[in-house]
Every structure is written in structure tokens, then in C-alpha cells.
């Protein structure tokens, strides 16, 4: 494999990882830090993308689209937290699973009713739509570089807030012992609503940013959500650092698997076997990774620390 290709594939791995992190970031906040199992996280991601697409269509401005998506999704998120999730904090995780699963079903139908079953378009700003020359012979989509940048920024921001600010400490405290946290003078109810809104906003960023690369359609959240969960669990629930590392691991491993494995099998096994086993193994690689990690580190790579 020529060097430029190697470099490009490395970038692709990194980029896929950060794509996943964009979604995992919000999930780390809500699921990791606040300790709520929110299956509807992918739904917020979908809503973000749809809002962005709609506004972009209307205004023609990508920036406006992102802004609108962020605000809109955050509001929707907080509304959900107030109406549906708040009553469930005192109950077991199972209730959150059921409630948020219901939200997925409802949201998907509503989106279909409002926007129709056909996927809708969300295009990247013309300025970024082309590739840029990173090194001689290495052209890389400008837009994906933006994704990389935003992903890293989100990681940094989240890390600082969660680990180094009082609000972050209150969140973690409230997650482990709500009652005691409020006895210490923290208004946990509103803190959590706000944090959930922030999580939703991060979803919107992911949705709006990935929209131009991925189909904006009903159910777009579900599959990528699973990957986001995988990322977080590999990294260690509640750890921002872990989530980032997990995301990069998954991104790179998946890329390597998809490119190298089939070739490898073709070299080793009969084409029959190869064409079958190669893709199969490539598809399950990240799950093998997760199972492996949990087998030896049952609480992820970075057991809960900021």
C-alpha cells in the first residue's frame, strides 16, 4: 500500500472515530455523567439533522442551519426532560429504557408525518465541498477536516467542563446521590434539565455536521447510536477521555478491518471463503473489540474519572 494511501486511510480512521465521538460526546454527558440510559439520544441527533436541513433549505446558510438546529434541539431536549424523564430519575434504569424507546417510536413516526418517508437533502457549504491538498498526492475532503476539528473541540470543551468546573462536579455528584447533592445546596432538578439540553445540543451539532456526509432520513439515529454506545463503553462510562480514545480505537480498527481484512483473506483463503469471511469479520470487528476490552477490563479502559 503506497504511503499516501496509508496516510489517507489513517486520516479516515481518525475522522470516522471523531464522527462517532460527535455523537458520543452528548451521550457521555447524559448517559455517562448524568447516568441516564437515553435510547432517544439518536432521535435527538435525527431531529438536529432534520432541523438543519430544513433551515438550510430555507435560508441557504449552513451556519444559520447549525445554529437553528442547536437551539431547536436543545429546547426539545429540555422539554422532553421536564415532561418524560424527570419523573423517572427515582426509578430504575429499566424505566428509562422503556420510556426512551417509546420516544424513538413516536419521534420516528412524527418525523415521517412531517417530512415524509423520503430522505431529505442537507448539503455542505460550497466552500468546503471539495478536497484540499494536504501533501503532494494526498487530497482530502475539506469538510471531513472540519469534522475532525469540531470533534476534537467538542472533546476538549466537554473535558474541561466536566472535570475542571464546579458545575461538572455538581453533575457527577448529583448523578451518584441526587438527594445528598441537593442537601448540599445544588438545585439538581434544573441542573439536570440544563445538562440534558446541552447533551441535546451536542446531538444537534453532530446531526447538522454529519448530515452532508450521511443520509438524513428517518431512523438515521438508531444504528449510529449503537456505535456511540460501544465507543463509550469501551472507553469507560463517564470518562470523556475514555470516550475519545474509544471513538478513535473504533474508527481506526473499523477502517483497518474494512480495508485490510478482505485483502488479507483473499491472500490466504479461497476466493469463495474470502468473499464471505472477509466482510463478515470486518463487520463484527468493533464488537469483538468491545467484548475483548470488557473481558479484560470489565469497567472499560478508563474506569470512571473525568
Amino acid at each position: 500500500m503506497p504511503l499516501t494511501l496509508l496516510a489517507e486511510q489513517a486520516l479516515n480512521g481518525l475522522q470516522l472515530g471523531l464522527m462517532l465521538f460527535l455523537l458520543a460526546a452528548g451521550l457521555t454527558l447524559v448517559f455517562g455523567i448524568m447516568d441516564m440510559i437515553n435510547l432517544a439520544h439518536g432521535t435527538l441527533y435525527m431531529i438536529g439533522a432534520y432541523l438543519a436541513a430544513t433551515v438550510a433549505e430555507a435560508s441557504g446558510s449552513f451556519v444559520a442551519a447549525i445554529a437553528a438546529a442547536v437551539v431547536g434541539t436543545a429546547v426539545i431536549g429540555m422539554a422532553l426532560e421536564l415532561t418524560v424523564l424527570r419523573p423517572l430519575y427515582r426509578r430504575s434504569h429499566l424505566h428509562q429504557v422503556l420510556a426512551t424507546f417509546a420516544l424513538i417510536l413516536i419521534a420516528n413516526e412524527l418525523v415521517r408525518i412531517i417530512w415524509g418517508a423520503q430522505p431529505i437533502a442537507l448539503n455542505m457549504p460550497a466552500a468546503l465541498s471539495g478536497p484540499v491538498e494536504l501533501a503532494p498526492g494526498l487530497r482530502y475532503p475539506a469538510y471531513r477536516l472540519v469534522v475532525i476539528g469540531v470533534g476534537l473541540a467538542a472533546a476538549l470543551l466537554l473535558y474541561v467542563v466536566v472535570v475542571h468546573t464546579r458545575v461538572g462536579m455538581w453533575l457527577r455528584a448529583g448523578a451518584s446521590d441526587r438527594e445528598m447533592a441537593s442537601a448540599m445546596g445544588v438545585n439538581t432538578a434544573w441542573l439536570f434539565t440544563a445538562a440534558f439540553g446541552a447533551g441535546a445540543a451536542l446531538c444537534a451539532v453532530a446531526g447538522a455536521l454529519l448530515g452532508p456526509l450521511l443520509a438524513v432520513q428517518v431512523g438515521m439515529g438508531e444504528n449510529i447510536l449503537i456505535l456511540a454506545f460501544v465507543v463509550i463503553v469501551i472507553g469507560g462510562i463517564g470518562s470523556v477521555r475514555g470516550a475519545l480514545v474509544g471513538a478513535l480505537l473504533v474508527g481506526i480498527l473499523d477502517t483497518v478491518g474494512r480495508t485490510a481484512l478482505p485483502a488479507l483473506f483473499r491472500a490466504l483463503a479461497s476466493p469463495e471463503v474470502a468473499s464471505e469471511a472477509g466482510p463478515a469479520l470486518a463487520s463484527m470487528l468493533i464488537y469483538v473489540l468491545m467484548a475483548g476490552v470488557l473481558c479484560f477490563r470489565p469497567r472499560g479502559l478508563f474506569p470512571a474519572r473525568g
Binding site: 470516522l16 423520503q118 478536497p131 452532508p212 480495508t259 468473499s275 466482510p279
Partner: protein, 368 residues
């Protein structure tokens, strides 16, 4: 009979829903046009969602055959739903009319008098594209499809006619999101052209990413019509321009039936019809025609099947008839996605690939 009961089961939820919805809209358009009748008989159409799951599909089929006791079933989009439930349908002696997938099995040995396909055999459009590549003397083509039977079928169809060399053949994960890695490898292989078959969201993702990587200049994209139809165009937008695809129909075909269909469809639903819509439309037309020809005496199954096989109706696609295996014999066209005068991005017919094309499996079908 005083009315005809139609069980319409399609994928109306989940990522595949767009296709099912188009088929349904096309189908209902005919009944609407006749004021709720098909071929003069009141049409009692019960619509159900298979959620793209054979399990659910099986459940619905049980309801259609055992409870509603429908005369005709139609609507399924995906072969992974159709193949598992088909035995149950045929066992119940109910007629099935496929408005989309046309699997190999039922085209060959397992062909059945109760099984009709108004769309195409799964390999047809791909074979047509192989022909196109030969005509354009493209010598080095790169192939991409998802790792599932449908994907392999399509690539086989392509290879059946394509004569040149194959730069690479990649099978990706079903429902894959990111194709950056595949695209990079692909470009390193320096092919003349890329033939891809990635239905639904996968196609959207691939095209968006392929174009943003600036690869369109190096190797142009070729695909079966259903990966480059109005729905995909709607979801991808600008980047679609320049993609070549083959289909049995195009919305700009110049014949009266088609002009009527496209006009009516746009009037009813405010969007351009897709192949799926046209296929659903013809499924309904086929039923209507058969009802009409039997004078509404559909309880005479044999006669009804006869009438269906005769298929006396004007298809928007132009010339259409059934082969001995109840799969179509029809023409195939080459379409290109262009930005038309009105600045609207859409498919434009730029040539005919096949005339009266029949799938290669009919020979293995015993029916006469």
C-alpha cells in the same frame, strides 16, 4: 365477484420506507383514478407494513390469506422479505404480483402461475449497465455492493454482460455509514469507472462522500436506476449530477400513458414519480386490466391468471409483456442525472440500451 380484495403489504416504516411509500402511492393512484375501483370492481385494498422484517411479513400474510381471504397480494419491496413469505402465499393459492424485487428462484425452476413480476428480474438493470459500459468501451471497472444476496445478484448481473476487466470488487457491510476507506482504496486502484449498487441510505452516504472526495472527476459513477432515482436525488441533491443509470422506465419517456401517469402522480403527490411509483402503478394497472378482461369474474382463478399473463394495459414504460415465467419482456434505457433548464436536478433519458430484453433464467422455467 362484486369486489376485488387486494392485500397490499410493503415496507412503510424504517429506512426502507421511502421505497414502499412510492410503490403504494403509485398503486393507489390507479384506484383513485377509477374512483375506488379496479377494472370496474370495487377495490377493497388493505394496506399493511412489513417493517422490512420477514417475521412481521409472515404475520401479515397470515392475516391476508386466512382472515381477509384476499384475491391478490402485492407490494413487497425487498427480497429478504419476499422470499421467506412467498411459500405461504403460494400455498394458499393466492396470486402475488411483485412491484419491485424479481428474484432468480421464481424466474427459473420455481416459477409459478400465481407469481407475477411487473418490475424486472433483479439482474436486468445491472446487465443493461454492463452493456452500456461495453458500448462506451470502458475497460477497467470497480464494483461495490453490500454483502448480502441482493448485492451479489446485482454484481453477477453486471458481470454477465460486461466484457472488460474488473479493477476491484468490494462487498461492504449492510447499512454502512462511512465509505471514506473504500473510496480511498478505490481511487488508488485507478479505475475508468465505478459501478455501485447500494440501495437506500447506503447509496446516499456513498454518493455524498464520493463526490465530496472529488473522485467524480477521476472515475464516473454508474448504477442501476433504483440507486439514482428521484428519491435519492432528493436526498443527495447537487452531488448527484452526472451519475449514469439504467432503468426500464424514465419520467421523461415520450408516450401518452407516461405523460398521463407523470402528470397525475405529480398532481396527486406533488413530487416526481420514481421507478418504484411506476412499478406500483403498473401492478395496479395489471390487476385492473385482468379484472376488466375477465368481466369481473375473478373467482375463476384460471381465467384470472390467464388475463393477468396477457397483461393488456398501457404501461408508462411503453412496450411490456410477460415472458413464460411471468417476468417482464421490456426495453431498458440509459438515464443521466442532470440539472434541467428550470435548474431542477432530475433524470434525463439519453438512450435505449435493450429492446425487448428477457431475463436469462426464463429458459429454466417449465411453464409454457
Amino acid at each position: 365477484a362484486d369486489k376485488i380484495k387486494v392485500g397490499f403489504m410493503s415496507t412503510l416504516s424504517g429506512p426502507g420506507a421511502a421505497l414502499g411509500v412510492d410503490i403504494r402511492d403509485g398503486f393507489e393512484l390507479v384506484a383513485k383514478g377509477e374512483g375506488g375501483k379496479l377494472g370496474g370492481l370495487t377495490a377493497d385494498i388493505s394496506i399493511a407494513d412489513d417493517q422490512q422484517s420477514p417475521d412481521t411479513g409472515r404475520q401479515v400474510v397470515e392475516r391476508f390469506t386466512k382472515r381477509d381471504r384476499v384475491d391478490v397480494i402485492t407490494g413487497m419491496v425487498f427480497s429478504n422479505v419476499l422470499l421467506p413469505v412467498m411459500p405461504a402465499i403460494l400455498a394458499s393459492g393466492t396470486v402475488y404480483i411483485s412491484p419491485n424485487t424479481g428474484p432468480e428462484d421464481y424466474a427459473a425452476e420455481k416459477c409459478d402461475p400465481n407469481f407475477f413480476v411487473v418490475s424486472w428480474q433483479n439482474e436486468d438493470t445491472a446487465s443493461a449497465m454492463g452493456q452500456v459500459m461495453n458500448d462506451r468501451s470502458l475497460k477497467n471497472v470497480y464494483l461495490i455492493a453490500p454483502n448480502y444476496p441482493g448485492g451479489r445478484e446485482t454484481l453477477n448481473g453486471f458481470k454477465r454482460t460486461y466484457k472488460g476487466a474488473i479493477a476491484g470488487e468490494v462487498y461492504t457491510r449492510l447499512g454502512q455509514l462511512d465509505y471514506a476507506a473504500e473510496i480511498a482504496t478505490l481511487r488508488a486502484a485507478r479505475p475508468d469507472a465505478v459501478f455501485f449498487f447500494l440501495p437506500g441510505g447506503m447509496g446516499t452516504n456513498f454518493i455524498k462522500q464520493y463526490v465530496s472526495a472529488g473522485a467524480q472527476q477521476d472515475a464516473r459513477l454508474y448504477t442501476p436506476g433504483y440507486s439514482a432515482d428521484e428519491d435519492t436525488i432528493k436526498s443527495v441533491g447537487e452531488p448527484m449530477v452526472g451519475i449514469l443509470n439504467t432503468a426500464q422506465w424514465a419520467h421523461d419517456l415520450d408516450n401518452p400513458a407516461n405523460r398521463k401517469f407523470v402528470a397525475d402522480f405529480q398532481k396527486a403527490y406533488g413530487r416526481l414519480p420514481t421507478m418504484y411509483a411506476q412499478q406500483g402503478y403498473d401492478a395496479a394497472q395489471l390487476i385492473a386490466a385482468a379484472v376488466r378482461d375477465t368481466g369481473g369474474r375473478i373467482e375463476d382463478k384460471a381465467a384470472f391468471r390467464q388475463a393477468l399473463h396477457a397483461a393488456r394495459f398501457d404501461s408508462p414504460r411503453g412496450r411490456f409483456r410477460f415472458n413464460t415465467n411471468n417476468y417482464p419482456i421490456q426495453d431498458y434505457y440509459l438515464r443521466e442525472v442532470v440539472k434541467d433548464g428550470a435548474g431542477r436536478i432530475t433524470n434525463k433519458t439519453i438512450g435505449k440500451v435493450y429492446t425487448d430484453y428477457a431475463d436469462p433464467f426464463a429458459a429454466r422455467c417449465k411453464m409454457k
